[in-house]
């Protein structure tokens, strides 16, 4: 395996988390990771060694997601969400609790606009600095902070009420 693939491999856990935060559900996130990896492998010459592979890769993933949403709107077809994976753990009670909580977070995220959502995914889920996130999205800092503030307000409101 070459350095490019090796580095991608170590980024995969983070990329999967980012995909999960961008996409509607686990099945969409899985498809998104696959699409982004395929695109990255095809475009590998465009990555300049020594520059940050994580930002490059997240930008690709974001573009894949935008493309997917556009083609979905075109098709005007809804995705049937895949059954959630088999549950892990023995404490059924606790599990139900966690599951209910998970469900609320996902619902709240799904209610955000795509623009708010990607900012939340970068800053709150991936932990990027504002400047890094603004550069990655190619938007001014002011736009970033206002999207982030509105997204955070909406999420906090929904999750506090739940």
């Amino acid at each position: 395996m070459q350095a490019f693939e090796r580095e991608l491999l170590t980024l995969l856990p983070r990329l999967r988390r980012f995909a999960r935060a961008l996409a509607r559900d686990a099945a969409d996130a899985h498809d998104l990771v696959q699409a982004a990896l395929e695109r990255a492998l095809k475009a590998r010459e465009q990555w300049a060694p020594g520059t940050r592979l994580d930002s490059w890769m997240m930008r690709i993933m974001r573009n894949c997601w935008i493309d997917e949403m556009r083609s979905r709107t075109r098709r005007a077809r809804t995705f049937v969400p895949e059954e959630e994976g088999a549950s892990i753990g023995s404490d059924a009670h606790r599990e139900v609790e966690i599951r209910a909580e998970l469900h609320t977070v996902e619902k709240a995220m799904n209610s955000l606009s795509a623009e708010q959502r990607e900012v939340i995914a970068l800053v709150l889920v991936d932990g990027l600095a504002y400047k890094e996130a603004a550069d990655l999205l190619d938007i001014p800092m002011g736009t970033l902070t206002s999207r982030l503030t509105r997204g955070r307000q909406a999420l906090a409101q929904m999750l506090e009420a739940a």
Partner: protein
Amino acid sequence: MIDDETLIAYADGELDEIGRARVERALAADAALRARLEAQQRLGGKLATFYRPVAEEEVPERFRSMLETNVIAFPAPRARPRRPFWQDFAALAATLLLGLALGRSLLLPAAGPIGVENGTMVAQGPLATALDTQLASGQPADAATRIGTSFAAADGKLCRTFDSAALAGVACRGDQGWQLLMTTAGSAGPHGDYRQAGSANPLVAEAAQALMAGEPFDAAAERRARDSGWQRR
């Protein structure tokens, strides 16, 4: 007055020293502002709890093998060199011979890892035992057979990839035992660096991907499948 944008920037550690001091002074004097900050911090915690497990999950074999096989696939595809027709005949003849030899050895009881059960090719001996009992997590370093991925096929049968010195492939559990759906030359030995190479045999990975319905099993699902005797779903 501290607005939400400033308060959130404070929570995200994005304020400079002067900004931080200003927010902290206001927080000390204002219980409602503290409540707003706490709500934002709780939000961060909830998102972290929800998304952290995704980053901690084992990366699906499918993605891993996309990256691992890419190296093999990467050099520009070369046109297949034309070769004299008699070489094709020679290859064909060799295959026939191999088939004859295999066929003969298959008739012998308990010879090698492959047997025939009602006309299907099935694993036998130590390979069958490894497929029955061995978990991918925590296999001994010197295991003769290395188990790769376990997964459910579209028809509900449970399947596993394996690699050993002699043979690598995909086996699915049916009524006759572990039916070998695909086999190729093995790469795993009792020692050496096959841990990287083992489950990444591109032919095996490709066959597994074609059969797989949904995600490969994680460690817990693999254990459950084994404990239930690899019954189809």
